[in-house]
């Protein structure tokens, strides 16, 4: 069992181009709360990323992230798929970091703070969220499996298949 890391005192690595992370923050913000986050929040996401997500991505992570970049429509499905399957956790962790950044702002407080909801309304909202989640989970799990399967095949095998296709 790894040592619990309570106090993180080392600074984030310097010299890393944060532009891709700021663009990522914008995509994630639109997905999570339906709005492009401010430059300040995008920058905060990039800094948080540097502190919290330092482990190198696995091949499966890279494949999932690349697919999500190239096909923005797939982000909800990949989120659901990786949550269910548990492999390639980096996308999920990135989304959680962005969630934390958004949550710690006055603009999104009401979205995250518990409120008083009547039982019928609660049942309706839970039902709606649950149904949406179920569809995404089914499709997402299949998509994650397909994307990571391609990643496991590797570039050599994919080139070989492409060569055979040209014959």
């Amino acid at each position: 069992m790894a040592m619990p890391s309570i106090v993180r005192t080392a600074p984030a690595p310097e010299g890393v181009d944060a532009t891709p992370l700021r663009e990522e923050a914008a995509r994630f913000g639109r997905y999570l709360v339906g709005a492009t986050p401010s430059d300040e929040l995008a920058e905060r996401y990039a800094r948080a990323h540097g502190h919290v997500l330092r482990d190198p991505p696995t091949p499966a992570d890279e494949a999932i992230l690349a697919f999500a970049r190239e096909h923005p429509w797939s982000l909800p499905l990949l989120d659901a798929g990786t949550a269910l399957v548990g492999s390639a956790p980096l996308l999920r962790r990135k989304l959680l970091v962005m969630t934390a950044v958004l949550e710690a702002t006055p603009e999104h407080a009401d979205r995250m703070l518990a409120g008083n909801t009547s039982l019928p309304r609660l049942v309706l909202r839970l039902g709606r969220a649950g149904a949406a989640a179920a569809v995404k989970l089914l499709v997402g799990a299949a998509l994650v499996a397909a994307v990571t399967r391609e990643a496991r095949r590797g570039p050599g095998k994919r080139a070989g298949r492409a060569g055979r296709g040209r014959q």
Partner: protein
């Protein structure tokens, strides 16, 4: 080596709950007391947090990300839930540098220890039930000897609670304020308990208000809890007891001095009857020597043990170690779904639960129930198997009905639980810890957890999952220098005096040979007050 200033009557090592309560009677007796500790403080976050309720700050404060997430984003983590999992960034200074300056090694036990001013009391849960005669079995002191010190410490730190169904288990307390009002979650559970009391008690389950070192009325310059739900983040108003409130009182006395940035390494007794303490000045690296007529070690069980073993040259010697095993039961209070909940609340335990099928005169299990309110939602989303937006929506609606029951099991010494000081190359040393539970112990714990979960179902609280946060998660460590009626090496006598020494006393958890299910801290403070009082009579 440089000499520190004039000789003290007593040196106290540490500044946590036991240290300040051992020092207090010594200072009251007019003795010169010098306290040595590293003494970290929160120099970053406390000043950032505005006054106001948690929900109001969330809606208005543009700088909230600094203390909610941390400047180094230390509030965001993906580790397995373990010791200190609930610590917010403003509380994490409590553990700064402890691993680096007091290294331990283990494959099964990852302790939290503190070099902060106020010690672990800077982040504790404030649970303060006294031990009973049954809990003190095996010690050479009785409840009667501690009773007066419980009252003294209760007045000093401020305890709130009430006489309810838990009275036979938590004991009577004269110096007790009324309880701070519990939240809607706790209220609904206690209301249902009242309707099913007889059946639940037949099954050995009792519920009531917890005993907390938290004020419901102003006391000794501290305010009553404002029910702003900020207790995990801020100490504004000082309603929850922190040892540094007592340290501030001690500082007002001319005979008391607190020397910070000092890591105590060892002690040695001199032929003239005095004790010298060797400490490293962490700012300069210089070694200092402090001398006094008596030494009180109260640096926390692991810190004190390290100093004692090093000073006595007891390398490779195994000493026992006990620690309360914890289980976290994540619960959904179904009976609260769709009902309005109050915003005004305190953050500490709302309900105390006792599982005692054999009654109060046999060992029983105590749990404290917390609502999940003033913590961040993303921490729940992390464990959700659903897409993030749907997780947010669902958990936001369900979170008022969430609760976490922290069940604390007792612990007895066994051959599988011990630590030893081992030298390392370069002159340093580390504490090597071995700790494991037998299959019988684990089975006993699981049986209790199942019984408690069954009872909670009757109260319409469904168990969602059980989390085992790891052996050291309770941060209640004891047993390394146990109190004994025999003058065996590496034990302490009934006055806390370390065996084979003349003037070295131990006043923290090290002296308790076993741990009942109840939290140790209040009893540790009462015992420290007792040891300090007895030492004051000797030194005067």
């Amino acid at each position: 080596m440089t000499a520190a200033d004039e000789r003290a009557d007593a040196i106290v090592v540490g500044s946590g709950p036991s240290a300040v309560n051992a020092a207090y009677p010594l200072v009251e007796a007019g003795l010169r007391v010098r306290m040595l500790d590293v003494g970290h403080r929160d120099t970053t976050y406390a000043r950032l947090i505005p006054d106001g309720p948690f929900t109001a700050l969330r809606r208005t404060d543009r700088e909230q990300h600094r203390y909610l997430l941390g400047d180094g984003f230390e509030g965001i983590g993906f580790d397995h839930i373990g010791a200190g999992a609930q610590l917010t960034p403003p509380r994490q200074y409590v553990f700064r540098d402890a691993d680096r300056l007091q290294p331990t090694s283990s494959s099964t036990f990852f302790p939290l220890h503190s070099l902060a001013e106020g010690g672990l009391g800077g982040a504790w849960g404030a649970g303060s039930p006294p031990f009973s005669e049954v809990d003190l079995a095996g010690l050479p002191i009785s409840y009667r000897e501690l009773a007066g010190h419980y009252e003294t410490v209760a007045e000093r730190i401020g305890i709130s609670g009430t006489r309810d169904d838990l009275l036979p288990f938590l004991g009577a307390q004269i110096a007790m304020q009324p309880p701070v009002a519990i939240d809607s979650n706790g209220e609904s559970i206690l209301r249902r308990y009242a309707s099913h009391r007889r059946a639940l008690q037949r099954d050995g389950l009792y519920l009531g208000h917890p005993r907390l070192a938290m004020l419901s009325r102003a006391h000794r310059g501290r305010e009553a809890n404002r029910c702003w739900d900020m207790d995990f983040w801020s100490d504004e108003g000082k309603s929850v007891y922190r040892p540094r409130w007592t340290l501030d009182e001690l500082r007002r006395s001319a005979g008391f001095s607190f020397v910070a940035r000092r890591l105590v390494r060892s002690f040695a007794e001199r032929p003239d009857g005095t004790v010298t303490v060797e400490a490293t000045d962490l700012d300069t690296g210089a070694t200092e020597s402090h001398r006094a007529r008596a030494l009180v070690l109260a640096a926390g069980t692991l810190g004190t043990t390290r100093i004692a073993l090093r000073s006595l040259g007891a390398y490779h010697r195994r000493v026992p170690l006990v620690c309360n095993p914890h289980a976290y039961l994540a619960l959904l209070n179904v009976g609260l779904l769709g009902r309005p909940v109050r915003d005004a609340r305190h953050s500490m335990a709302q309900v105390c639960i006792v599982h005692a099928p054999a009654g109060p005169d046999r060992p029983f299990t105590v749990g404290h129930l917390y609502s999940y309110r003033s913590l961040m939602l993303f921490r729940l989303v992390k464990d959700s198997p659903l897409p993030v937006p749907e997780s947010i929506a669902i958990l936001r609606d369900l979170s008022p009905s969430f609760a976490v029951l922290i069940l604390q099991h007792g612990d007895q010494p066994t051959p599988a639980k011990h630590c030893a000081l081992e030298p390392r190359p370069g002159g340093d040393d580390h504490l090597a810890i071995e700790y494991s539970l037998s299959s019988e112990e684990q089975q006993r714990h699981e049986d209790v957890e199942r019984a408690v979960a069954r009872g909670l179902r009757r109260l319409r609280c469904l168990r969602l999952r059980t989390i085992r946060p790891g052996h050291a998660a309770s941060v209640h460590y004891a047993g390394t220098l146990p109190m004994s009626a025999h003058d065996d090496e590496l034990t302490t006598d009934r006055d806390g005096r370390l065996a084979r020494t003349r003037g070295v006393y131990v006043a923290d958890g090290s002296v308790f040979p076993s741990l009942p299910s109840k939290g140790l801290t209040f009893t540790m403070m009462a015992n420290a007050d007792r040891i300090g009082s007895r030492l004051a009579r000797v030194l005067r």
